[in-house]
């Protein structure tokens, strides 16, 4: 099989976007409290230097909406000025609207906490407050040409995880209702933009999580993927393993397996090189490899690195890995991984070649599609994960297809899938724990 390659020059298929999750160098996300557009502009200047064409920014929910009916005009103005400063630098902006959760810290307004605690997804009062907030925030940006849309919200799904210390329990139906409500709220504020939702690993790997793979891959304008090797991949296979380098690629293809529209774009919305899982002297190599593997996936909207700037060590209580995730250090100097990112971005822009279809697909059966009760086979160390990685390391470029779609010749043909492989047919590779030379 020699699938035709689709070059940007020949059919104008767009190269994936390259961007960063913007972590302000001064004050981290607390910078909203001391908002200084000059600091932001300096940060954005340095972000341009690593070749980014977009940023993802984070509005701290309790600061924008400290009371349910107080959505601060000044906060919206400040967010608009970041978007405008980005526009001056040809950066598009996606705005993450429910923080929610960031780098181990949760940010919840007092009107949903302690004495006012209510389920963050199902309580009518909370949900109407969130919707009002998101409509106003999106609406405040609706006239900005470089506003991409809203992402909802940074791994807000963690509040529905049984592992959360203050869990908001909900059903899958309730999760879907929440997702459709908050996405509709964004669409009301800014019609026609790209509004998505953003979950963490549990959506793909946790059998009991109410945010399911089907919701992740079928609701919203595109599927978002957050790829973090500390999810067990680095622990089991090593930070320099091929499994770690291919984790983002795997998640992209896994998510595509769940889509009903084969052409649905996937956004690698977060990927980073966390120390010590990725040692600092390996971060540039990891960056290059992870991006290159991801670029081998079709219909990839873009790659948005986590993060732009290292967190200042003057700030306390972050998990240690959070202090060194930047492509730039806290003084805005480009780090080796920033140079690797910049090279990858430049190469993609200059000579992006649309990847060939993946003609071999691994068939995924995790039980009922709506509930995915056995999705843990997809987690690092799981049978499906291992089979996919084995095929990938053998050079097969595996796609993923659900059992329910594996007999649909139209779908297979559209996706270019010629060969179906069951996980049980894949020899457990001896490379499972191989460390790259």
């Amino acid at each position: 099989m020699a699938p035709q390659s689709h070059n940007t020059q020949t059919d104008s298929f767009p190269a994936p976007r390259f961007g960063v999750n913007y972590t302000p160098s001064v004050g981290w996300f607390h910078h909203w409290l001391d908002f200084n557009i000059d600091d932001v502009k300096k940060d954005l200047d340095s972000i341009v230097e690593v070749g980014a064409d977009h940023i993802r920014i984070f509005a701290l929910w309790p600061l924008v909406q400290p009371n349910r009916t107080l959505i601060r005009p000044q906060a919206l103005t400040d967010i608009r000025s970041v978007v405008d400063a980005a526009a001056e630098r040809n950066l598009d902006v996606s705005v993450d609207g429910l923080q929610g959760h960031l780098s181990s810290f949760d940010f919840l307004p007092s009107w949903v906490s302690t004495w006012h605690k209510a389920n963050l997804f199902t309580d009518d009062r909370v949900l109407s407050g969130q919707a009002e907030y998101l409509t106003k925030l999106a609406g405040a940006l609706d006239d900005r040409p470089n506003f991409l849309g809203m992402s909802l919200g940074n791994e807000f799904s963690q509040f529905a995880s049984s592992a959360h210390p203050d869990v908001s329990a909900l059903s899958i139906d309730e999760a879907e209702h929440w997702l459709r409500t908050v996405l509709t709220a964004c669409e009301t504020g800014a019609p026609g933009r790209e509004h998505q939702h953003s979950e963490y690993d549990a959506a793909w790997f946790d059998n009991n999580h109410s945010f399911t793979p089907a919701l992740a891959a079928r609701v919203g304008s595109m599927t978002t993927v957050h790829s973090w090797v500390f999810n067990g991949t680095a622990q089991k296979y090593g930070g320099t393993s091929e499994q770690s380098a291919r984790l983002a690629e795997y998640l992209i293809e896994l998510s595509r397996g769940w889509a009903v529209d084969p052409a649905r774009p996937v956004w690698l919305q977060e990927v980073g090189a966390p120390a010590p899982f990725i040692e600092s002297d390996q971060a540039a190599r990891f960056t290059e490899e992870a991006i290159n593997h991801a670029l081998d996936c079709d219909n990839l909207w873009g790659v948005t690195w986590w993060c732009s700037h290292d967190v200042s060590t003057a700030l306390a209580d972050f998990p240690s890995l959070e202090y060194s995730l930047g492509l730039l250090d806290n003084a805005r100097s480009i780090k080796p991984q920033g140079q690797a990112f910049a090279r990858a971005a430049a190469t993609a822009r200059d000579s992006y070649t649309r990847p060939a279809p993946r003609s071999t697909a691994l068939v995924l059966d995790v039980g009922d599609e709506a509930t995915a009760p056995n999705r843990s086979v997809c987690a690092p160390g799981g049978e499906f994960f291992n089979a996919w990685m084995t095929l990938a390391m053998e050079g097969e470029r595996p796609a993923v297809v659900l059992t329910s779609q594996s007999h649909d010749s139209d779908i297979l043909e559209t996706r270019g899938i010629k060969t179906l492989v069951l996980p049980s047919e894949v020899q457990r590779s001896s490379t499972e724990t191989t460390v790259l030379p």
Copy 2:
């Protein structure tokens, strides 16, 4: 017995101070996010009009210290400007440092919440962070002549109540260690000022609360009392009952019973007229009566009304009573209770007469002094509460003395106590549920 009255003219005994807890009319305590000194100045002008000589202000903890090691200079500057604007109007300022809790809302920084949750009183990391914060905050005001000192923190003790949805359990020893640590931190920042701690009812009434009456009345520069008739008094006896009008007086005398220094000042730091327990057309009368009863207590540092301005009804989710507690409405117009307060303040300043000693004392035995295991007899409806109120309504002006001090003739003489009465000796008055004419 005809005790000698001590007039300000004859022995310069200072009249009690009159002030308000400052609730900003624009944005409530969220005003710090959109800090506007002109709005504050207008509020302070209207506060002067009700005859206040001081205010108590509230720094929102998560806004001043959003990260443990980020104590925002701008937040300290903003707090300083409020203090300076107060000085221009001859208002002294007490600064409440750990919010903590305000009008049903808790304000905790993310570094002590959810994934970073730790005991708010005993965790070393949290305690060192609080101490650093309080030292810096007090230190930022140390050179301001009208800075009275710190209060700690507004009913922060509620986080140690078993009723709290996110309780931080602690022992009495741990409560004392916390109190002494945070008070020392304030003293380090602003030596020689009046630094106190401020608990809610549970300290006086809840048998199991680790903040005990002994801690309340013996630690810090003076004892603070928060008097709220919705603590059961209004429910049991009616908002217009004499019990409700005398609740603050009772709490002041109860607290003095626990003091070891008979001359220790007591600050009626919070008292208000909450609707519907006090109907709006009764609020002025309640204000006048509650103040007059309180002024009949000796060594009263001052009366600080809750609150200055009504909460805007544009803000959501407050308990309904919080919207109408102001002496001034949200447009800064003086309400009838504000006029009553102003009259009382003017009268006290013009012609304060030091009250005669209370020569009859009700003897309080709640078990071990350090733990006060039977202190619930002091709660509204309790035997001690009813006995005290009966004596008071009979015109006895009862003091309170602990059993352990009731045989100490020096103490009794110093306090002017001539007659001891046991609660069991007090006939349950028929006025228990009497409503005033």
